[in-house]
């Protein structure tokens, strides 16, 4: 508690704000037809929210809050006492400014939102490519976990369990257990170019959620990515496109590989999220193999214009 005493003027202002706000919402709600009011509350409705940080020196955290508000609030997706697993892309031991990994502030903001929504535990898990401890340190994920009290799981062989994926290409494959044991799953990828799949976005992030011979998946990358995305089916996908990697992906390594895009894309449709993100690279979504296949096999739609589509700018 701060010891700041509220002056009379302030208290009046606050009261006005609260009552005025309530009145406005009532006013706004009253004349509208019922189905329009009800629709944001239903979790099944597909949406894409694009957040854009235009003002100079905007706060990433504030943008994320706005984006979630536009989607109906985090409480719509995360209930009290939920165990939430967050899957960032922290595969490379690269500093955040190199855009090889999910920005730590994005990770931190999402963890905090989940905690505010009353999540019992937030688990952060990624089966990294570089040594995990170095990844945790250099990407800033370790710092975030320490700060927020989230559980950052070290990927170990005892946590990889063979499961039936029953995909079109992959049948049985070892899966990173913490990601499937959680009540809610949030995918938190970063947008990058990738030589084989074209782009690394949300669906491809699930390669970091499995064990086994991952280097063999490249022999049929698009179908295997869709199989994995279909198996994991996240509650939400939030694509970090604050900085995007436009050259030398997916590892990057130089600041010249990075372009500042100042965007975030939130969706409950994994295909639509990726499709929207693809446009940031001036790529037609249907030209990316896994987006095309994801659409074809009913995982979602790449025609993101046809679902509820919001834009938030700060």
């Amino acid at each position: 508690m701060d010891n700041h005493h509220i002056t009379r003027r302030e208290s009046i202002k606050k009261l006005l704000k609260i009552s005025g706000g309530l009145a406005l919402t009532n006013l706004a709600a009253w004349p509208l037809p019922k189905d329009l009011i009800a629709s944001p509350a239903s979790t099944n409705e597909k949406f894409v929210v694009e957040g854009i940080g235009q003002s100079h020196g905007y706060a990433i955290k504030a943008l994320i809050r706005k984006v979630f508000e536009a989607a109906g609030g985090i409480e719509k997706f995360v209930s009290r006492q939920d165990v939430v697993a967050v899957k960032p892309n922290i595969s490379w031991a690269r500093a955040p400014h190199l855009a090889a990994t999910t920005h730590p502030e994005v990770l931190e903001a999402v963890i905090e939102l989940c905690q505010e929504a009353g999540a019992k535990k937030v688990v952060v898990a990624d089966h990294t490519i570089h040594d995990a401890r170095r990844c945790f340190a250099i990407t800033g994920a370790g710092m975030v976990a320490k700060k927020t009290g989230a559980d950052l799981v070290y990927p170990r062989s005892s946590l990889m369990r063979e499961m039936k994926l029953q995909g079109h290409r992959l049948n049985v494959w070892p899966v990173f257990v913490p990601l499937i044991e959680a009540d809610k799953l949030i995918n938190l990828p970063i947008a990058k170019v990738h030589v084989l799949s074209g782009l690394t976005l949300g669906m491809k992030n699930w390669i970091g959620a499995v064990g086994g011979r991952r280097n063999a998946l490249h022999q049929d990358i698009h179908m295997t990515v869709v199989d994995l995305a279909q198996f994991f089916k996240p509650t939400l996908t939030l694509i970090d496109a604050i900085r995007i990697m436009v050259h030398n992906g997916p590892s990057g390594g130089s600041a010249s590989d990075v372009s500042v895009s100042n965007r975030l894309i939130l969706s409950n449709d994994p295909v639509a999220a990726d499709a929207k993100a693809a446009t940031l690279f001036d790529i037609r979504p249907e030209d990316i193999g896994f987006i095309h296949l994801g659409n074809k096999w009913g995982l979602g739609t790449y025609e993101f214009q046809k679902i509820r589509h919001n834009k938030v700018i700060i």
Binding site: A93, R94, A95, P96, H97, P104, I129, H130, D131, A132, R133, R134, F136, A137, I138, T139, G140, G142, M143, V144, A145, K146, Y154, R156, S157, S158, L159, R161, H194, V195, L196, R213, N215, A216, H218, Q219, D220, I221, H247, N248, P250, S251, G252, G253, S254, S256, D257
Partner: protein
């Protein structure tokens, strides 16, 4: 001070140094608290450094200091400690062996707890023997070889021997056993076992290492360690008396020790309790002449004597004590041995003609000739490496480089921005680089090449860009060319064929490690192109 108190002070000191040694060994790893402030990471690459002085026990080792000076002609940072030990030895003899040396403490424990010999057996075993000369032979041999440019000291230096044995054999061995149990529990359907497995691993991994550790020829290191320990069943502190070259070096300096064992033969009742308790076979009985070069100042004899017939006293001004029993034949023999060992050691041509293509040294390593002058084969770089790529050699570096570090890329890879191995090398055989220096110079440890017969796209067996994807340089050293090829079924397939750009390749080996062709990957790293060697470069500039 009473003898009993001295003995307890010694035990306490021994225990502290042994515990500190093991703790520093455990801390020779990627720091646990590596969570850095990412706001700093946003602007610059940060180096991860160890929080503890893990090289301390190497820095207080006068033998490592002396042989490094003799062979490498360099004064290594931190070795003032070793000089301090030498100066103290001039006053207090081999107190290092009795009080500080953790390997000595382990031998002491092995001999003291449940001794193999009793009665006349132990009295006989604790008599000074001619074979105690062998340690001088080993010392002079190492010094002679060092002078001629091959430093073998680490093979038998007690700090290097103990660190290597514990960190490459004992700890990983136990760790593997424990991990197997945890993995078994994790597979169980019983929830509580899963939970124990996970929690257990979180606790155990920082000590024994993450995942399954592998060190080639660790079995040999482990067996040798056990044999050396079991030799204590033949005679107490067999290693310290007969083999230890550091003990020999300190023994020579003990000639001038002012702390001496004074004897009063008229009080002696010849009960021989002093001999029974003697750790160094240093002839403590009053009717024999005390051997200051063998005495480890454990104060056991002083404590054991019921008649006060012996006592440790400081004598000033110092007199010259009995010289160490080395003998001319040992000196000549060891000189011949040392000289020939260093000359024969270079006969495989690996220093002067061409090195083995499989010998890939850690980043920052000195040129091979200088490397072999300084490397102690202690295993610190191998222990600290987070990807477990650094292994002790068997034959890759020839006899002269036995157990020196070598990168085996199918077992791990060199992380692009990691510089831990150089930051812990006690003698600077691997230079301490910053991540920036490593990347920007760049430091190359070898070069990759593609075996087109095994490579999936090159052999027409399907798409794969795994090597390109993982290549850490920017721009990438592996680039792809689009091609339309024929599949084995005669269908046209569009593939992307990988090529290595030698100008950019640093030889980190992540391509080899991640290649889906396991065991003998389709892309492999060889030493050619390593920047430490002028002769081994490939490109003109």
């Amino acid at each position: 001070m009473k003898a009993k108190h001295l003995v307890w002070i010694r035990r306490l000191t021994q225990a502290i140094f042994l515990i500190v040694f093991v703790l520093l060994l455990i801390e020779s790893r990627l720091p646990q608290d590596v969570y850095m402030d990412y706001s700093a990471a946003l602007t610059a690459e940060q180096d991860i450094e160890l929080n503890y002085p893990v090289t301390f026990f190497f820095q207080i080792d006068p033998l490592i200091w002396l042989t490094s000076v003799v062979s490498g002609h360099q004064w290594i940072k931190g070795f003032g400690w070793a000089l301090g030990i030498v100066v103290l030895t001039l006053f207090f003899g081999r107190f290092f062996c009795g009080f500080i040396c953790p390997f000595g403490t382990i031998h002491h424990l092995m001999s003291y707890v449940k001794p193999a010999l009793k009665g006349q057996g132990i009295i006989k075993a604790n008599q000074k023997r001619p074979d105690q000369k062998y340690k001088y032979l080993i010392l002079i041999l190492f010094l002679a070889a060092s002078l001629l440019g091959l430093n073998f000291t680490g093979l038998l230096d007690p700090m290097a021997f103990l660190f290597r044995s514990l960190s490459l054999a004992v700890f990983p061995g136990l760790g593997t056993g424990i991990k197997e149990i945890f993995d078994l529990m994790a597979q169980s359907d019983i929830k509580i076992f899963n939970y124990i497995s996970y929690t257990g691993e979180v606790i155990v991994s920082p000590v024994f290492g993450y995942g399954y550790k592998a060190f080639q020829s660790a079995w040999l290191i482990g067996i040798l360690f056990l044999i050396i320990l079991l030799l204590n069943r033949i005679r107490p502190r067999f290693w310290c008396r007969t083999l230890c070259p550091l003990g020999a070096l300190l023994g020579i300096f003990a000639r001038f020790s002012v702390l001496r064992l004074e004897k009063y033969p008229d009080k002696c009742t010849e009960c021989q309790l002093c001999i029974t308790a003697c750790q160094g076979a240093a002839s403590p009985v009053p009717d024999q002449e005390w051997e200051p070069a063998e005495c480890m100042f454990c104060f056991n004899c002083f404590n054991a004597c019921p008649e006060n017939a012996i006592s440790f006293k400081l004598r000033w001004p110092p007199t010259v004590n009995k010289p160490p029993d080395i003998g001319r034949r040992v000196v000549l023999g060891s000189l011949v041995g040392g000289v020939s060992l260093s000359l024969f050691g270079k006969l495989d041509g690996r220093i002067h003609k061409v090195s083995d293509a499989r010998l890939i040294r850690p980043p920052g390593s000195l040129p091979e000739k200088d490397f072999l002058k300084l490397c102690q084969r202690c295993g610190l770089c191998m222990k600290v490496c987070p990807t477990n790529v650094i292994n002790p050699t068997l034959s890759e570096a020839g006899m002269a480089g036995f157990w020196t570090p070598n990168l085996i890329m199918i077992q791990g890879y060199c992380e692009y921005t990691c510089t831990l191995c150089g930051s812990v090398c006690p003698t600077g055989a691997i230079q301490h680089l910053s991540a920036k220096e490593k990347i920007e110079n760049p430091v190359r440890i070898g070069s990759a090449h593609i075996d087109r017969g095994r490579c999936l796209p090159w052999s027409g067996n399907g798409p794969c860009i795994v090597c390109e994807e993982h290549c850490p340089t920017s721009p990438k050293a592996i680039h792809l060319k689009k091609e339309v090829g024929l599949s084995p079924d005669g269908e046209t397939v569009r593939v992307e064929l990988p090529y290595v750009d030698l100008k950019r390749c640093v030889g980190c080996g992540i391509c080899e490690y991640k290649c889906p062709v396991m065991g003998k990957p389709a892309i492999q790293v060889i030493a050619a192109g390593e920047s430490r060697s002028i002769n081994n470069l490939i490109l003109l500039s």
